[in-house]
Assembly symmetry: C2
Homo-oligomer: 347 residues x 2
């Protein structure tokens, strides 16, 4: 039996759901890969940090957090910081799930670079590093001979990157588009149904669809980061989120929506990237009218869609229907299985 050690940076809702999934599937992983997956480090902002090379008791860690809000003394607590754990902890795979800084991709990108400098694999659920530093990180991973996986960064565990990488072999991506931000999608839908803006915000917050500060969503920054990540990976775009022609839904009025409806249209916040004649990739995020008969008009609430056009398969779209936190966890879990697959092939 082999052993694969994970360091989890971040232990929020997604990190906890990932650990529950890991516990649920540990026997199946053992059977399939002849490998024990253990978590040897957990770094958090407010729950304490743990480093235990012999493997953290995940059930106890989950219980501590749900009852006390922080890790108890029964774990090997450490004063090492998140970055120090990335540098010094005993692990094979770094799992980056710290909070996103949408304007810099840091310090998440530095955590991952640290892992690669130690020839450790990295999985990120944080889209910042893929949006801001994809090329550099991919290059470092290749040179170190390690895996770098990031499926969760766009549409949770729905295969988007892996769809192209694993199932559309030799096809060249010429265009990517989609509806990628559920907050704005929810707001536009509710406005169209006649709801009042303040009520929408209150309801959205209670449903967990809208953040306490929704500006990053409403002004299109989140969508810009996602389309950038997609274009960097799928089209080698070599762009950063600040290069996206970005417009949010902040100026869309109820009248705009009614006016569109009178013409059989709905307004959606669309993301798009397309290769220009000079070879560069132009990325845009902005509200656009789509026909009520269009598939895009049916993408409502937290459902999202990515359409990928390639030279050989024309346009193929993939839809994630109303995901919950377990689908985010599955994205990280799927990437972990891919690390295990690669390790198996190398043997």
């Amino acid at each position: 039996m082999e052993n694969l050690k994970l360091a989890l940076l971040g232990f929020g809702n997604a990190g906890q759901a990932f650990c529950r999934l890991l516990l649920e599937k540990q026997d199946e992983i053992r059977d399939t890969y002849k490998t024990d997956v253990t978590v040897t480090a957990i770094a958090t902002a407010s729950k304490g940090n743990i480093h235990d090379p012999e493997g953290i008791d995940l059930e106890a860690a989950l219980e501590d957090v749900s009852t006390e809000g922080r890790f108890s003394e029964r774990h090997r607590l450490t004063q090492l910081s998140t970055m120090e754990l990335a540098r010094q902890a005993d692990y094979d795979v770094l799992v980056e799930m710290t909070p996103l800084n949408i304007f810099t991709g840091q310090p998440a990108a530095d955590h991952i670079k640290t892992a690669f400098s130690r020839k450790k694999h990295a999985i990120t659920a944080n889209k910042g590093p893929v949006a801001w530093f994809f090329r550099e990180l991919a290059e470092m991973a290749r040179e170190a001979g390690v895996c770098f996986f990031y499926e969760t960064t766009v549409m949770d565990g729905t295969p988007v990157f892996n769809l192209v990488e694993n199932t559309l072999k030799m096809a060249k991506v010429t265009e990517v588009s989609g509806i990628l931000n559920s907050t704005t999608n929810f707001i536009l839908e509710e406005l169209a149904l006649g709801a009042d803006y303040d009520d929408i915000m209150e309801r959205g917050r209670s449903l967990g669809f809208i953040e306490a500060d929704p500006a990053m969503d409403i002004e299109g920054y989140d969508a810009a980061a996602k389309i950038t990540a997609l274009l960097n990976v799928l089209m080698d775009a070599r762009i950063t989120p600040d290069q996206v022609k970005r417009k949010g839904i902040e100026d869309i009025t109820v009248n705009d929506i009614k006016d569109a409806a009178s013409r059989g249209k709905v307004i959606k916040l669309l993301c798009r990237g397309v290769r220009k004649d000079d070879g560069s990739v132009e990325a845009t995020v902005g509200p656009a009218e789509v026909s009520k008969d269009d598939i895009l008009a049916g993408i409502n609430s937290t459902t999202s869609i990515v359409s990928i056009t390639t030279d050989l398969m024309k346009k193929v779209s993939i839809i994630e229907h109303e995901p919950e936190i377990e689908q985010t966890a599955y994205g990280v879990f799927g990437d972990l299985l891919r690390v295990l697959d690669n390790a198996a092939i190398k043997k």
Copy 2:
């Protein structure tokens, strides 16, 4: 440089498009896999048969068919039948593209069995064998240690089988549904727009959306074969198309469609398979009303959709937008790349 030899059974539009793609990509395959892919046998019903272990000149074969409608004497023509070529020809991969027999899956399934009995790989674009004989064929392939790929049998090269196999690892499929027959989809859409039935049939035939004898589509047999193939592969359903609860659109009237429209609905021919409490899989094909706001209502013309529900990723859908024959060819081509990938891993 390795050599991989293909025997093509069938050389209709899809087979010819596949050969054009092979010619276009031969250098890229050489670079990527260090392998020369050659076609050593082509079997047809009306264009003649060729067997040339040194490799058929595909450009010449394509030219012959487009100018003369049959292979000329410049090829090594043979009197061997399709089945005799499957048995005796010099090949590594059998590519099954003969016409579908939707009621038996034969003789296509026997061609594939013959390949497996010779420890040769098989790729099928013909859904009959997957709908009627999947379990037996998959078992034979496993015992022979060869590849059996069939991505093209549902939605051309759009990843459906590979989506689950390669990107939704360890997730268990609990339900599959979709709109899989473009002929009925086109007819229902046109009827809803107010077109006359005879006009629709004429227009559909001229566009190539409707077969000379459309009964297999209209009565739901094609959709039943497709959902059976999906369920056999993705849910180990172990069913045959005759076990599908099947209803076509033959009884749908313009009044039904208008009545549905008055209630904000459209009629679609839906396929569905779901696991029952006793562990068996129940498959249905039949017309159903869907809300005009539903994503399914936006699936028009030759566009199709499959939705796959799993325990770990809930519902994910994939859409193929208005495919042409090149997308069918890409399905076979993608399967060929997978055979090459497997060969590379084994080394």
